[in-house]
Symmetry: C2
């Protein structure tokens, strides 16, 4: 038996559970997004901002994925929304069965928006369906404008792209126009947001878009 | 057969080839470092700086690893040092057999310093020996000071840690002291460098340390 066959088995098993998750999300009318990016692109900070801006208007729950620690869940818990932490203990991506367990812990029936924050890794999570409505790929301007070309699968498999930490552009050798162009060259359908959690640029637009996607 | 068994087989096979690579490096008296980090932490920029500062003093060759594109090898090639690009086509880390092929292409016999730049991924490359003398983990201050705690394996398996883009600290919510403390809490033996490719802070110290490790 070769590794490739085993990988296929793992993915096939993952897809079965991902479809069960999707059925649950659909029955609950949860809009569910899977946030993927490099470590340190600012996913958790934008989740915090999203909760602060939107939580009076609709109900949010968060599933945090990390290799180690529950630091991110601690940050979200302070904002008084339901949150579950998945610690992968070295695993480089979330899988559907872990999300299923987290959903059972959280009780997401009356939730409008379920945010899954994946492990910080711009490669491996691209291949794993968790049952979400869409992947949203984050890229910080500090990472440089070539990242969509170097890590294309993640940009190809996402429906939206958040270009974050936009306030730092004046101090960097990074062209936002080039970054956008590179992302759209991989996936012309990407909905692109430019955001900063320091200046709040783009946060209203991001939250309005989330709201427009809600199912109830 | 379970996935874990297959993974062990893959790792065991990798270790055999890694030991062959190590024997070759030892026979050639190559000092070999494996640079690992998140995407966009500035590994390639620091490799460029290293070549500009050191290439008159000792001989450098570079092996670039990327999921897609040869953009990084193109950058290094402009500096007139031997460079090989490994494109993993979706693979999330370098393996020893790929490095072995690159070594054969490069002819590293008379080289003093072999720099292997791994795929940008703070998780998966931690577990793969390539035959290098040591791993050097890079972390950009833009990624936040909690990364060593959230991705401990990479910091545990490295001998040195480059805290990069130090010029951006004034614009960030990142404490370099906290970042150092967190890195040393995972691995108290880490040799730590603070660097910036914009201001050249720390570049001399980094290059002197490389020079002190050469074997010929």
């Amino acid at each position: 038996m070769s590794v490739i066959q085993v990988e296929r088995k793992v993915l096939a098993k993952n897809d079965i559970i991902a479809n069960q998750n999707r059925e649950t999300f659909t029955n609950n009318k949860n809009f569910t997004i899977n946030l993927v990016s490099s470590p340190g692109s600012g996913k958790t900070s934008l989740v915090e901002k999203t909760i602060q801006h939107c939580n009076g208007k609709f109900k949010i729950a968060v599933i945090e994925g990390d290799v180690q620690t529950d630091l991110d869940a601690q940050r979200i818990d302070k904002l008084n929304v339901p949150v579950a932490q998945i610690v992968t203990n070295g695993g480089c991506h979330l899988e559907a069965n872990l999300v299923k367990d987290a959903m059972n812990d959280l009780n997401v029936e009356d939730i409008d928006l379920v945010i899954i924050e994946n492990v910080g890794n711009l490669v491996c999570p691209a291949g794993y369906d968790l049952g979400e409505d869409m992947k949203v790929v984050f890229v910080s301007v500090t990472e440089g404008d070539d990242k969509p070309l170097k890590y294309p699968a993640m940009f190809r498999n996402a429906a939206a792209c958040v270009i974050n930490k936009i306030d730092l552009v004046p101090y960097l050798n990074c062209s936002v126009e080039e970054l956008k162009k590179n992302a759209l060259s991989i996936n012309p359908q990407l909905k692109i947001f430019l955001t900063s959690c320091i200046t709040n640029e783009g946060i209203d637009e991001w939250c309005n878009w989330l709201r427009s996607n809600l199912k109830k």
